[in-house]
Amino acid sequence: MEHQPARWSGHAGCRSVSTSTPTSVSYREALTQAMREELQRDANVFLMGEDIGLFEGSFKVTRGLLTEFGPTRIVDTPISEAGFVGLGIGAAMSGLRPVIELMTVNFSIVAMDQIVNNAAKVRYMFGGQVSVPMVIRMPGGAGHQLGAQHSHSLEAWFTHIPGLKVVCPSTPYDAKALLKTAIRDDDPVIFLESEGLYAKKGPVGGAEDLIPFGQGIIRREGTHCTIVAVSRMVWIALAAADILANEGISCEVIDPRTTRPLDLGMIATSVRRTNHCVVVDEGWPECGLAANVAAHVYEACFDWLDAPIGRVNAADVPMPYAHDLEQAALPRADDVAQAVRATLARRER
């Protein structure tokens, strides 16, 4: 990672970068690598989704895979999300390992019953007779003027559901390693990619570099305030930290990487040191991810907090199309910096 390369191995709980591919690849290509390697490793792994084969994916994340693995392993589907997510669950129940791409997270809503009532529950309600080793990958987030129906950040919804695991990678390294972990996981994993990060470059790990779920990473060390963020918001947080550094404010940026399970321990340890916290969340504020992390941190750090936790969310509105309006609706580095300043302003009280 640009800001703290030394921390890659230390906090990741994965092998050191020395074993990794040294070249810098995009977040997109990191995901492709993860799928290619897992397809090679395990014949039970197959990919399924709309336009992932011949068309190579709406965001080209599956580029080259149809040619390499053929149509049995790389399955183009009709536009039937409920149907093929359900199909994936059934296939997973019988031992296959489907990696399903929903073209974007927005289309998960038509498949939500399958995700919540089947994928997340069958293991429990049938007394452990089956597992659902399935990954549902989906790009999400806003920022490209796609309007109200195409700009969801549904981290909070998925994190709400026991039985799911929820992964939100922010870097190419994490994207690859976490996707590999997800594919090898025996439970349903919701893998939320950020449309805004596909072109982001960075180093990636090798074929056996995994990251266990529930292990966060310190993206930047600091002493005055802890900023918690996942996925694209990590970069917003880091940009805010840069702004604030110029003002003599030192921020620690923590990326929990998975929101279910959540590495509260890492966050709490930091907040107990900085005594201040801001959570950045691309989703809506009510019953959102930031509210959730904040509630946990208040509980774990009540006696350490010098000020209320700052929450930076998307505006509580359907996403508008107009460029400036959309930008205003989304968390920006300035908003985060302002939230940090606000929480630190209470230091003296």
Binding site: T72, G83, L87, A91, M93, D113, M125, G163, G214
Partner: protein
């Protein structure tokens, strides 16, 4: 009872059914009837909670369909699935214990009447959301093709489920990818209190398959032989032609939708008409008429079933309750914490 067939119908010749199969089918039908009547009784006594949906009247459709498959062919069902489990060979003790919510139940008391599963018998479960299990079954069929196996999947759903869009999505994929799936619609003509005539613009539900170029037919679901024969043909077609098909079995449930339904909206005349075709009675006539069994043999068989279900009730009653410490078991295959109430937080935050 009319039997319609589409132009695509691949199965004009009914399979012959041997005597032992017929005896076994009768025995299962009676076992299921006995089980469900006892379950109703236990429900009234408060030993069974939640919803209890009885399939009394539908035994021919359930047993005929299951009997025509290999025991390893996966099946899925709705919440009205005691019969499917028993037809498949699940231990009545474990089924009754599940209804009682005990550790010894098929699903260790986590599922209850609506959510039975017996994976050992390739019964992939009863599901509570109407239509919800249909794509799962297509996925089981997908897995069969993926692994080059020769199984056939049967997904059983109600007439009401044909109005869930996921059925059409599933049929399209099954046909498009040549999956060995039998879409078995158990049309008991009602979704709760709503007659199919008030829910379906075309009450010939088998026509739903035609838009996907999939063979389909309507059969008499009160006639276990007709059902056996149709499913046998569909399974053969799936195994040889590697194609899905649909069967609509016309039947009737004698009780209300669930135990809490007073069933006071269906016409009495209609109920009487269908009761007159009770599959147990009509099939008993066939079995006796074809000298498949003597009246005494059937009497013995029925007595044995009653004893069997008595035993199941005793077993369930005597089985231990689920310990509360096990509340969070099986939320995940490998849980990340040992919190007795589950939870998303990794351990160690409370230091």
């Amino acid at each position: 009872m009319t039997e319609s067939a589409t132009a695509h119908d691949q199965s004009p010749v009914p399979a012959s059914i041997d005597a032992s199969t017929m005896r076994q089918m009768y025995a299962k039908m009676h076992l299921i009837r006995t089980f469900e009547e006892r379950a109703a009784e236990q429900y009234m006594r408060g030993n069974i909670g939640g919803f209890l949906h009885l399939a009394i009247g539908e035994e021919a459709a359930v047993v005929g369909a299951v009997a025509a498959l290999r025991p390893t062919d996966p099946i899925t069902s709705t919440y009205r699935e005691h019969g499917q489990a028993l037809a498949r060979g699940s231990d009545p003790n474990a089924v009754m214990a599940e209804l009682f919510g005990r550790t010894t139940g098929l699903c260790n008391g986590r599922g209850g009447s609506m959510h039975l599963m017996d994976r050992e018998h390739a019964f992939y479960g009863g599901y509570g959301i109407v239509g919800g299990s249909i794509p799962l079954a297509v996925g089981l069929g997908f897995a069969i093709n993926y692994r080059h196996e020769d199984g056939v999947v049967m997904v059983m759903f109600g007439d009401g489920a044909t109005n869930q869009g996921v059925l059409s999505e599933s049929m399209n994929m099954a046909k498009l990818w040549h999956l060995p799936v039998i879409f078995f619609c158990l049309n008991n003509q009602y979704g709760m209190g709503t007659s199919i005539t008030r829910a379906a613009s075309d009450t010939e539900l088998f026509t739903r398959a035609q838009a996907f170029d999939m063979p389909s037919r309507r059969i008499d679901g009160m006639d276990v032989m007709a059902v056996y024969s149709a499913v046998n043909d569909a399974a053969e077609y799936a195994r040889t032609a590697h194609e899905p098909s649909m069967i609509e079995a016309l039947a009737y449930r004698y009780r209300g939708h669930s135990m809490s339904d007073p069933d006071n909206t269906r016409p009495e005349e209609e109920k009487a008409r269908w009761r007159a075709r009770d599959p147990l009675i009509t099939f008993e006539r066939v079995v006796l008429g074809d000298a498949i069994a003597t009246p005494e043999e059937l009497e013995q068989l029925r007595a044995a079933n009653v004893t069997r279900i008595d035993e199941a009730v005793s077993f369930a009653e005597g089985s231990p309750q689920v310990p509360i410490s096990a509340l969070a078991d099986n939320v995940y295959t490998h849980p990340w914490n040992t919190n007795p109430r589950g939870g998303a937080v990794m351990p160690g935050a409370d230091q």
